[in-house]
Symmetry: C2
Subunit: 361 residues, 2 copies
Amino acid sequence: VNVDGRPFRSIWLADDGVTVDIIDQRLLPYEFEISNLSTLYDACVAIRDMAVRGAPLIGATAAYGVYLAMREDAADDALAHACSALLETRPTAVNLRWALDRMRGAIGALPAARRAAAALAEANAIAGEDVAVNRAIGEHGLELIRGIAQRKKAGEAVNILTHCNAGWLATVDWGTATAPIYLAHDAGIPVHVWVDETRPRNQGALTAWELGHHGVPHSYIVDNAGGHLMQQGKVDLCLVGSDRTLRNGDVCNKIGTYLKALAAQDNDVPFYVCLPSSTIDWQPDPGGIPIEERAAREIERIAGRLDERRVADVGVTPSGTPVANPAFDVTPARLVTGLVTERGIFAAREDALAAAFPELA
Amino acid sequence: VNVDGRPFRSIWLADDGVTVDIIDQRLLPYEFEISNLSTLYDACVAIRDMAVRGAPLIGATAAYGVYLAMREDAADDALAHACSALLETRPTAVNLRWALDRMRGAIGALPAARRAAAALAEANAIAGEDVAVNRAIGEHGLELIRGIAQRKKAGEAVNILTHCNAGWLATVDWGTATAPIYLAHDAGIPVHVWVDETRPRNQGALTAWELGHHGVPHSYIVDNAGGHLMQQGKVDLCLVGSDRTLRNGDVCNKIGTYLKALAAQDNDVPFYVCLPSSTIDWQPDPGGIPIEERAAREIERIAGRLDERRVADVGVTPSGTPVANPAFDVTPARLVTGLVTERGIFAAREDALAAAFPELA
C-alpha cells in the first residue's frame, strides 16, 4: 500500500541488504518515521514498546529478530536466548510463539554457519506469506465491493464502514479488512470509508492515516455514529477484522464490533468479517471466549497532538472515577453475513468452515 | 442532588436574596466553581459560553436573566431588549424561546415598578416546576428499579446503563434519566451505573462527576462497551433521556442511543426513555427529524486535564482527515420498552401518549 504515492510495507529488508527497517508506529498518526533494526535487542524493543503492533506484524518482526540474532551469534544457546527474549516481549501474542516455533524449526538443525542466511530466508517467507494471504482476502472481498458498485449509478461511491485498524499497518501489507478496499480503490471503483474512531485506543486514527496517505476517500466518525449512518442508507457494506473466530462462526474482535453488527442487521447492511484462516480457533468447545480487561488508563487519558511540536495526553475522567475497560466483544455468527478468508467467502457456520479448511478443522 | 453531602441545584437565588448563582459547568468535571450572575449581561454570557447547558437549565437561566434585566431597567424597551438578547445566545434552543415567551406573558402587562418582583416569582416558578417534573419522572422510574431489585438477591446492585448526561446538571435538579437513580440510591436500593463516555463531547464525564459526588456507585466505560456488558448479563436496565420524542414514540437523543437500544433488545434488557412531556413533538407527521451536523472540531480535538493546573485540548485525528459529526440519532419506538414521564410510564405508541396527555395531543 502506498504512502504518498510510494509503496510501503510495515517491515522490510533495509537498503543495506542486511538490517531491517520498520515504520515506528508509536509516532503515528502524527509523524511518519522509519526506524532501523540491526540487533536482536532492537527487535525486542520494537515489539515490546509497540513500535510494531498487530498480530501478523509482531510475528514477522520476531522472525526477523531471530535472523538479526543469528547475524551476531549463531550458536545454539544464542538461538535459544533469542527465542526466549523475543517471546517475553509480548507474552500473550499467539503469533509471536507461532513465528518463533517456525524459525526454530527452519534453522535449529542447521550448522551455525548457515543459520543467518536460512533465518533471513524464513523470515522473508513468513512476511511474504502474510502479504499473499491478505492479498487473497482482498481479492475475494473486492468482488463484494464490485457487486455493490455495479448496482449503483456510475461514479457513485460504495460506502464501507470499518472498525478499529485491521489495516496494512497491523500486517506486513494490505491489511485484512482494508485489503478489499485498497484493491477496489486501485481498480478504479469509487469507494468511501466510514472510519470508526474505536475508543479507547483510537485505532481509527491509524486507519484514517493509512487511507489518507493511499488516497482513499474516507470520513472519521465517533463510534456512536455508525448506526445512524446505516439508518440513513449511508453504509453499503461493513468490513471488519477478527482477533479470533470460533469454529461456529462467532467472531471475537475489538470492543464495539457487536454493536455495529446489530445495526447492520437492523438495516439490512451486509456485515463481513475479513480474517486469515490462521486466526480460526478450531477447538471443539472453547466454553466462552475470555475477554481481556485492559488498564483503566487507556480510557482515563487520551493522547493527541498538543501543538505543532508536542504530543501529550490529557485526563478526561473526573478524578477518582472507577473505569471498566473490556477490550473485545463477541459478535454471534447469526449477525455475520460472511467470513472473507484467503480461500474465499464462507458462511459463518461450522460446516462451511470445515469444508473450506478440511486440513485444519 | 448532593455535591459531597451538601444539596445543590444547578441555579438558585444567591444568599444576598437578589442575584443568582450557577455552577460554572465549563470547568466540570475538573473543577467545581460557583459563579454569580447579577446582570442581564452575565446571564447572556453564561448561556452563550455554556457555563449553563441542557434545555431545562437554559430556559431557567433565561427566565432569571429577564428578572436581572428588570432589576436594572424595567421599561418596555428594556424588556424587549432583554428577551432578544437572551434569545440570541443559543438561537436553536427551543426551551429558551418557551421560557422567554412565558416571562413576557407574566410581566409584560404589569407596570414597570412591579416587573422585577413578578419576574423573580415567575423565574422561581419555572425552576420549581422543572424540579417537580423531574422528581415525578424519578418517582415513576424508581418503581422500575425497585421491581428489579426485588428479583435480585439482597444487597445485589441493580446495574443501570445510561448514555450522555441526562443528569441534574442539565436540569434545575434531579435530571431526567438520573432522577430514578438518585431516588433509588437515596431509598437505600443498591444501584451501580454504567456511564457511557458519549463521544464526541464526553458528557459521560459530567454524569460520572454527578454520580460520584452524590455517592452513587458507577463505572465509566467507552461507548463501544455497552453491548458486550449486556451480553454478559451485567446490565439490568437502560435509562436514557430524550431531546425530542415523536407522537409515534420514536426517540431522538444523543448519537449512539440507537446502538444501545439495539443491544438491549438483543439481550432482553428493558430500555426506558425518561422525558418531560414538554419534549414531546405532537406534530402529526414531522416527516423525519432533521439531525444536526455539528463542528468537526468536536471530534478532532479532545479536552482534558493536562496536569494538576491546566486543562488543554489535544488533536486526535491525522491532519487533514475529513470528519463527519451527526449529533443525534433516532431510536425507533419498537426498541423502546417504555417512556417514563411526569405522569407515569407509557408505551412508546401514539395511542398511549395521547391518552396520557389528552390536552396536548
